[in-house]
Symmetry: C2
Subunit: 381 residues, 2 copies
């Protein structure tokens, strides 16, 4: 890594392991080559372990957003009601995507920094019959963690036929998710966050129940590239270690994801959850001791893979972020439109926390202290 490389400590893309990067530079390989087929096939199997599911994974060239389309066009039919638990920017956007495919969307909005309340979810589910409920597990715009286990329990009690869809783009690999045990039907994610690979892949897990709902849909799937009828035979073929073709897979990105998934499973997923909690606690303590305020209103619903932090009075993005960059740390500005200029975001996911000996988080927190001091901040510490 060149000495000019700045640590990418945003909430995705994140820092990659050297072996992951090495895999990105795999020489030209046919998408039906005997060395590529097992890389995709095994990645599908590993995803089942990461998501704790016996359901169907999908790995498709694209990004997390494409996973919204896949959910909306395969599981929802025009006129279906969908409840969107909306904890920020990504809830608004997922809702727009669902509406594009004809869903009637009800937003269950929470104030900025709050997470959806179980009682409110229960009440909403009583109001009408929803085909699906969506939950942004970690809203990357606010750093708010939603209680997907609790919400899935409420769904099971109030409206068991409603499909439970989790936007796990900013949580898979950093937050606890147990698809089958918790009754989660869909997890949408992408390669570039806690799965530890470069951007370029839409990654999903879909329960057997949801595949059943898909197979029983009454109207044709109104999308070609995202149509599971096209992709199911492909995923099955690769898993059976057989060549198949619908659209050319992103061979190098999949080699890279495969390396990262193997690392994740080798280290142990429970260990990974624990390390992300530890790193987050450390980051949040420094933030607190500095006298800074998190966007999430309570640590109980703050993400473990990132921190969204208000600038202290008098200090702005234009001051702090360039100073952090001068210290070799790339952090992100605000994204939630109502408060965008007022806060910044730090990612602490993947190798930056599972291999603490790299010192990424310490370097980041030290740079934060130094940069604030350079900005003239006289807060605690």
């Amino acid at each position: 890594m060149s000495p000019s490389h700045k640590l990418c400590m945003i909430p995705g893309p994140i820092e990659f392991h050297e072996d992951v990067l090495q895999a990105m530079a795999t020489p030209a390989t046919s998408h039906v080559a005997p060395n590529f087929i097992p890389a995709l096939g095994e990645s599908i199997e590993l995803l089942r372990k990461v998501l704790f599911t016996s359901g169907q994974p999908f790995i498709i060239a694209g990004s997390g957003t494409l996973g919204w389309d896949m959910t909306a066009c395969n599981l929802v039919e025009a006129g279906d009601d969908v409840l969107v638990c909306n904890s920020g920017y990504f809830g608004d956007r997922f809702g727009e995507c669902l509406e594009t495919y004809g869903a009637k969307v009800t937003h269950l909005r929470v104030p900025i920094g709050e997470s959806p309340q179980l009682a409110a979810v229960a009440a909403a589910l009583k109001s009408k019959k929803f085909k699906a409920i969506t939950i942004t597990h970690v809203d990357t715009s606010t750093g708010v963690l939603s209680d997907i286990k609790g919400i899935a329990e409420v769904v099971k009690a109030e409206s068991p036929e409603t499909l439970v869809v989790v936007d796990g783009v900013c949580s898979v690999g950093s937050e606890e998710i147990r698809m089958d045990a918790w009754g989660i039907d869909v997890v949408v994610t992408a390669s570039q966050k806690a799965l530890g690979a470069p951007p370029g892949l839409c990654v999903m897990g879909v329960s057997e129940r949801a595949i059943g709902v898909f197979k029983n849909r009454k109207t044709p799937v109104p999308n070609y590239y995202a149509n599971w009828n096209r992709w199911l035979p492909i995923m099955n073929a690769y898993e059976a270690r057989k060549p198949s073709y619908f659209a050319t897979p992103a061979v190098q990105n999949i080699f890279a994801l495969n390396v990262s998934l193997k690392q994740i499973v080798a280290q142990g997923i429970e260990k990974r959850f624990a390390l992300h909690k530890e790193a987050s606690a450390k980051a949040k303590k420094v933030i607190h001791d500095l006298g800074l305020k998190l966007v999430p209103t309570s640590l109980d619903h703050a993400a473990n893979g990132m921190s969204a932090v208000y600038y202290p009075e008098g200090i702005a993005a234009t001051d702090l972020l360039p100073k952090l960059a001068a210290h070799g740390i790339v952090a992100a500005g605000g994204l939630h439109v109502e408060i965008a200029p007022k806060y910044f975001r730090i990612g602490h996911m993947g190798i930056s926390v599972t291999e603490p000996e790299r010192g990424h988080l310490d370097a980041t927190l030290n740079a934060l202290k130094a940069s604030l001091a350079e900005c003239g901040y006289k807060g605690a510490l």
Copy 2:
């Protein structure tokens, strides 16, 4: 490159330049980083040069197939008639994609190995009003090259309002295309063929006229991820060297494409066309001298970036392809369902022909001769 690496001489993915691979291994970089923004911005500008257009390029995580969705969902409205010049597998598939979005598709089919006749196109255009005509420039399943310049002229004469859409997935970078001069409205392509980068990107060029038609559509775009309303501001922002976000771009793949596009433009596009013609002539002469038959019925409409070749009597895929692989050459089997077991395909695109000193094509043709001999073939030579 490891000594065990076999040359990937299929009609895409193709062999990559070392600098392209190096770019794939760029360390973690934010999608709004000061070093990434110009890589995407410049790639957009370079694509205009490669396609000879003042129109709008798009570079999106996905693959060539996604470019069909982009065309179908942004330019076609339900009920519109579309004429598909169908020279093989990819015409069938593009037609299916168009129908998914409600187009009424008329296929102008040609026998296997033939290319669409101008007179037939003219007659079809007289039969009804088509919103668009699609042409597979090189049908990768047959190696047939279509006369897009001639067809665009016929469209201009017979039905000037019809949008001319070229599937250039297997032609951009290897076959002559001059979008603006020839009156072509859309070129769909992907990163992994003659553009010389790994798979993972959908790449398009869209004329100003087509963008106008898009902006005047009467119905909403029935797709979220592929919606140009979302992507136009993003492409414009990056080109203006400003950060912007809709869905996370495939940062590393775009760095790699950027390197390849710079190489293409630096070498000169006219030179590139000439080199592909030369390499193709060389390959086709060896194939002819070996007594083998091409799938295209005439050299006049045979692609310059690939060759589709019938196995000689008594020799099958299961014999020839493994022997080629043992000689270090990966070739592809047949894809056109009606003749799939009867022929094979060789790619000759990108650095394998623009840097002949690498010896890729010679190695491939020599391996072909040797493998045929090993199969017991007693043909010419």
